[in-house]
């Protein structure tokens, strides 16, 4: 039984409070009430050519004539304000934003947005391979047992989902004291439509099958909060629950009978290497999940220019299909102050701890009953979530004169993961420590010229990497040849031990940003910017990872008269990074 109770309770509470916000609860009839608005009535048509799912990924385009309707209303009197904007084009595309500020103590916002999102349809055209094991006497290829085929069971399908996002927010100021606020929020985000699901068979009958699957997902999130200001102390509490519900039947894939990759025969040899074969099973199944969060926050205004804030957040996340539970506890202490008329400073420290359930996997023995088989592959999945983190920051902002700002930032991010190794040579290397310093200088260097420069240096010891993720070592332990002989004759059953560390994150990074804007009176301005980043990880054992980003841009605004405005610009970016390509000799 799905547990929607928390969401339902919060939703009911929110709706009940929304009811309280009816304008009638405000000041009643008022002769000064006013209403203004705009109504737009039109038509919408499109002409399509070729594939339109990419060029118009988030729009419904069809060659029918659709209405193009807009309505804006704004009403107010002494005590109440009402604002409504809505746009309707078809059954999929509807926008509505409404706000009611009733009786000065109730603020209600409502928004509804729905649109279409085109999803990809993989044609699977790159699959089609039969291994060549030699050449016959006539010079023709001799085919082997390994094959790769594909099948698109719904080749004409056009995939996409209707995304509907509805948000309600009620903020109620209690007209007692100077700042007690009740908050209720509700959000319903759904995706409905179809998508392509791919399923893959292993070994000699390696076969990728595409099929159409229904998408019917709903995420509900509700939040209740209360905050109050007691003299110089603000105290707040929020409870939030997020419920993700996958209501679609999971797609099912027919896994074919296992066949031997050399001679194509079916039978026990290959079945003994697989967890399942010759049966139809669910694939690409998105589990339901539930997240509950409690947050307590206390902010103390110490002297009118200095604030200390502390918060504690506890989050419980659960995969409701598998029953996996994860707990997060986080505490933050933050301080900010105006040290002098033009000097501001802040600092914060957060400690966060995550603990996720481990998971026992009881697998059949590999090649059970076969010669050389019977290996036990049972294992316990220890979660990569398990960790203790410290996030620290310090910031000093100095406005040394009007138009000039200097900002110095320091950030610390320390992550000690329980089960993720970051150095192949040190089994205790699980802690990443990242220090970042940044200086930002903003200056009005002339009356009409503004410049801004930012330079950042980041050093990371033991960044997140793929330890033993790439490149095999010759002759390493788990290299398990069968039948002996020369290496070129061996049959490899297990993937050999990898020795290389692969990475896409740097140990050292320098990032620079600059921009310059100049105004030519009130009629023209030009602006130019340049961003650059030089990142490197030279702690890897087989290669150095590098990434370079260069991104300049320019824009101009020209208003030769009150009747004409012209704007133009160009932006360019070039990002380059590297990797080491390694290929296994045999990976099962």
């Amino acid at each position: 039984m799905r547990n929607h109770r928390g969401v339902r309770v919060l939703a009911v509470a929110a709706v009940a409070l929304l009811g309280m916000s009816h304008p009638g609860t405000a000041s009643g009839e008022d002769e000064s009430a006013s209403l203004e608005g705009t109504v737009s009535v039109g038509g919408y048509g499109a002409s399509l050519d070729g594939v339109t799912g990419r060029v118009r990924e988030y729009d419904v385009d069809r060659e029918d004539l659709d209405p193009d309707l807009k309505l804006e209303l704004f009403g107010w009197n002494d005590a109440n304000r009402f604002d409504l904007r809505t746009e309707f084009r078809n059954e999929t595309e509807l926008d509505l934003d409404a706000r009611l500020d009733a009786g000065k103590n109730v603020d209600v916002k409502f928004s509804h947005r729905s649109f279409y999102h085109s999803l990809d349809h993989d044609l699977l055209g790159n699959f089609g391979w039969r291994e060549r094991v030699g050449v016959d006497s006539l010079g023709g290829d001799v085919g082997g047992g390994k094959m790769l085929t594909s099948e698109d069971t719904d080749p004409l399908a056009v995939y996409g989902v209707r995304v509907t996002d509805t948000k309600e927010r009620l903020e109620m100021h209690v007209p007692v004291g100077t700042g007690t606020t009740f908050l209720a929020e509700y959000r319903n985000l759904s995706r409905e439509g179809t998508r392509q699901v791919l399923g893959v068979d292993h070994c000699a009958n390696c076969h990728v099958r595409g099929q159409t699957a229904v998408v019917d997902e709903r995420m509900q999130q509700a939040t209740l909060g209360l905050s109050t200001v007691l003299s110089e102390v603000k105290v707040g509490y929020r409870f939030s629950v997020r419920d993700f519900d996958n209501r679609a039947e999971a797609a099912r894939n027919r896994f074919m009978q296992a066949r031997h990759p050399v001679n194509g025969a079916s039978g026990a040899e290959f079945a003994s290497r697989l967890l399942y074969e010759n049966e139809t099973l669910e694939v690409s199944k998105t589990p339901n999940n539930l997240t509950r969060s409690h947050a307590v926050e206390v902010a103390v205004d110490l002297s009118g220019s200095q604030t200390v804030r502390g918060s504690y957040v506890r989050t419980d996340a659960e995969n409701q299909s598998a029953g996996i539970k994860m707990e997060t506890n986080a505490a933050t202490l933050a301080w900010q102050a105006r040290l002098a008329r033009a000097v501001r400073a802040s600092a914060s420290l957060t400690r966060r701890e995550l603990q996720n359930d481990s998971w026992e996997l009881d697998l059949p023995n590999w090649r059970e009953g076969r010669p050389g088989g019977g290996q036990d592959f049972d294992w316990t999945r220890l979660s990569a979530y398990d960790r203790e983190e410290y996030l620290g920051s310090a910031r000093l902002v100095w406005a040394s004169r009007p138009g000039r700002n200097l900002r110095l930032d320091y950030a610390l991010h320390s992550t000690d993961r329980d089960h993720v190794l970051l150095d192949p040579d040190d089994d205790s290397a699980t802690r990443t420590v990242q220090h970042t310093v940044r200086a930002t200088w903003s200056e009005r260097i002339a009356k009409a010229t503004r410049s801004r420069l930012s330079a950042e240096y980041e050093h990371t010891s033991l960044p997140f990497v793929s330890v033993r993720g790439i490149c095999e070592e010759a002759g390493s332990d788990v290299f398990m040849p069968i039948d002996g002989g020369q290496p070129s004759d061996w049959i490899y059953y297990f993937q050999r031990e990898r020795i290389g560390t692969g990475a896409s994150l740097p140990t050292k990074a320098v990032r620079l940003k600059g921009n310059l804007t100049h105004g030519f009176g009130a009629r023209a301005s030009v602006s130019a910017y340049a961003n650059a980043a030089f990142e490197k990880n030279d702690d890897l054992n087989l290669y150095d990872f590098e990434r370079t980003v260069i991104a300049p841009g320019f824009s101009a605004l020209l208003m030769p008269s009150d009747e004409f405005v012209f704007a133009t610009g160009v932006a360019h970016s070039r990002i380059k990074s590297n990797a080491k390509l390694c290929v296994t000799v045999m990976d099962g």
Binding site: D59, E131, D141, H202, V283, R309, A340, G469, I470, G569
Partner: protein, 326 residues
């Protein structure tokens, strides 16, 4: 009477910044710390009735701005002086009509302009604005908000994303990359992800990693039986949220993205026959010499479909079910 520990703590807290400021002023050139940020503040003026303001500034008489119409309980700072809540006492200006005789946040230094707003907006999420990146870049509240405007939306001077990309030009270009979030289409806004007033960590930001992304993409929240550790670490290891050339906001296209951390299957090294074939299961296809490379090194997620994590085991026992293919 001896000071209580609480009083001593308060006294220390008050003295600390002063001591630090005094030390800073000892540095060469730091005497500018005390520059006069608000020349109007020192002048002697008295509060007048709002009607005196509207006699000349009649264009604001019909304004529906909420800022002219606050009750005490609506603000922590009890600012209920109408126009003069932000512009300061107006008696001198009323007498002289001289613009220099009244504070004008629109033309004032951003530090001064922001202070007028933050005297009320300090108890909510905007309270940390002075420490934000925007404030440090001399972006003031009135740069984005039209304080006199009607109470519609967030009093923004123009709608998102136009308002944001008028400065953030590089992000404007990102929105036009082939793969992008639907910001320029108006289906979401910059502030769905970014807090333009933010700086110090908020209570919400201390939740689980990647919670910002998961607040919409909840189907990837798991936690799963079979994990993919970079998914847990940081979504931006693989995804560029502002836009990318590669599909699905990937920072690089597959297979390169995957090959940064993984190696290629050995099958990709086995040459293929040139010609048509039919598998033992009856599926026909055309093979070429490099067909295995094309099959195995075009798009890894054609087979490893559940790259964000899965509860269902993959097929191979030696892979321990963890290959994220199901």
């Amino acid at each position: 009477m001896p000071a209580t520990p609480r009083k001593r703590a308060r006294a220390c807290a008050r003295a600390g910044p002063r001591i630090l400021a005094a030390l800073l002023t000892l540095l060469p050139g730091v005497s500018a710390l005390a520059y006069e940020v608000d020349s109007f503040e020192a002048r002697a003026a008295a509060y007048v009735d709002d009607a005196a303001c509207l006699e000349c500034h009649e264009e604001y008489a019909a304004s529906t701005t909420v800022h002219r119409d606050l009750e005490e309980f609506e603000t922590a700072a009890v600012v209920t002086r109408g126009c003069q809540s932000c512009h300061g006492p107006g008696s001198l200006h009323v007498e002289s009509n001289d613009p220099d005789d009244i504070r004008n946040p629109a033309t004032a230094d951003p530090v001064v302009a922001n202070r007028a707003c933050l005297q009320c907006h300090r108890a909510d999420d905007v309270g940390a604005f002075e420490m934000s990146l925007h404030a440090a870049a001399d972006v003031s509240c009135v740069s984005c908000h039209d304080i006199h405007g009607p109470q519609r939306g967030a009093l923004l001077r123009s709608s998102q994303p136009d308002l944001c990309v008028s400065c953030h030009q590089d992000q404007r270009a990102s929105m036009y990359l082939p793969s992008h979030h639907p910001v320029r289409e108006g289906r979401m806004t910059c502030t769905d992800c970014h807090d333009p007033h933010g700086s110090t960590p908020s209570a919400a930001s201390a939740g689980r990693p990647n919670d910002l992304c998961l607040s919409c993409h909840a189907r990837h929240a798991g936690p799963f039986v079979f994990e993919h550790s970079p998914v847990i670490e940081d979504c931006t290891i693989c995804h560029a949220p502002h836009g990318s050339v590669a599909n699905s906001l990937l920072v690089q296209n597959e297979p390169f993205l995957c090959l940064q951390c993984h190696q290629a299957h050995f099958h990709a090294t086995i040459p293929g026959i040139d010609g048509e074939f039919t598998s033992l299961d009856g599926y026909s296809a055309v093979s070429t010499h490099d067909a295995s490379k094309r099959g195995f090194l075009t798009k890894c997620t054609q087979c490893h479909t559940e790259i964000h994590g899965s509860d269902l085991p993959s097929q191979s026992i030696s892979g321990q079910g963890a290959a994220l293919t199901r």
